[in-house]
Symmetry: C2
Subunit: 136 residues, 2 copies
DNA sequence: CTTGACCTTACAGCCACGGGAAGGTTTACA
DNA sequence: TGTAAACCTTCCCGTGGCTGTAAGGTCAAG
């Protein structure tokens, strides 16, 4: 099948598939007489694997490692598990950061009247408060 | 004061301050006889404002809008509030995405033995499951 | 025979900077 | 006075993970 069909089936874009080939994440695709890339179901499976790994937050370097494990018959599942737990921890950290940011935003919004006037707790907060300035 | 002192006081890096000037986010700094950028406390306040806005998740386009409001005496606080609420909503969406990803990772890790053997629920999940394949 | 949907490569751009080169200035100290 | 370190300047490249666009070749339908 051609690249757009492989894209449709794998969940990646054709652009992305070419890019993955470019950076040697996947092996160069076979080519037809016309020079078009050809994909079989095995290739599509690998692409789909990558799409899934990206969806759950792995970057391309980690995808490379996961793909190596996937290809290695003598792999040890603890390596995959390690990658997953590390990624989970990274997500946890990031989530906590975002929640903290959101809490600050909510606190700002709560204190701002949000009317037609210029007085604005949000802008005052952004201007002044870094810590210890505007306590209760 | 020179740029590194302004950086220290504002919480931005000198690089970032120059970059903000480059993209016209802030006005070009005054220059001393030697060509060095000079900052007064008013300029530092604006830099600090930007640092705070970035910390809570605003991108540079939004920072531009916030800065306009901050400079405008006839602003309406509802505009700032609107920006904050939109950003909060964006963070909420992103947080939910990350939590969903993390749940998937945790579910994978829970089902993987993580031992010396090659059998690995994680790699099977990444390879196969997209939806409806691996039910209860 | 043309139209449109594919495919190819190659290069630019996105965001928000950071790194580093190559050079000028200032400051501290021997 | 010399010099070394610590500043400062501009400039351009690299990051991640793509997407967009240009300029062309190919293929299937009518």
């Amino acid at each position: 099948m051609n690249i757009s069909e492989a894209a449709r089936r794998s969940g990646l874009s054709a652009k992305t598939i070419r890019y993955y080939e470019d950076i040697d994440l996947i092996a160069p695709a076979a080519r037809g007489d016309n020079g078009y890339r050809q994909y079989d179901s095995k290739a599509v499976e690998e692409l789909h694997f990558l799409a899934r790994a990206r969806e759950v937050g792995f970057d391309l370097l980690e995808c490379r490692q996961l793909l190596e494990l996937q290809r290695d018959r003598r792999r040890q599942s603890r390596h995959a598990r390690q990658l997953v737990l590390e990624k989970s921890q990274q997500l946890q950290t990031r989530i906590e950061q975002l929640v903290a940011m959101q809490n600050v935003l909510q606190a700002m919004a709560d204190r701002c009247k949000g009317d037609e006037g210029p007085e604005c707790a949000i802008l005052e907060d952004l201007a002044g408060a870094s810590e210890g300035e505007g306590g209760v």
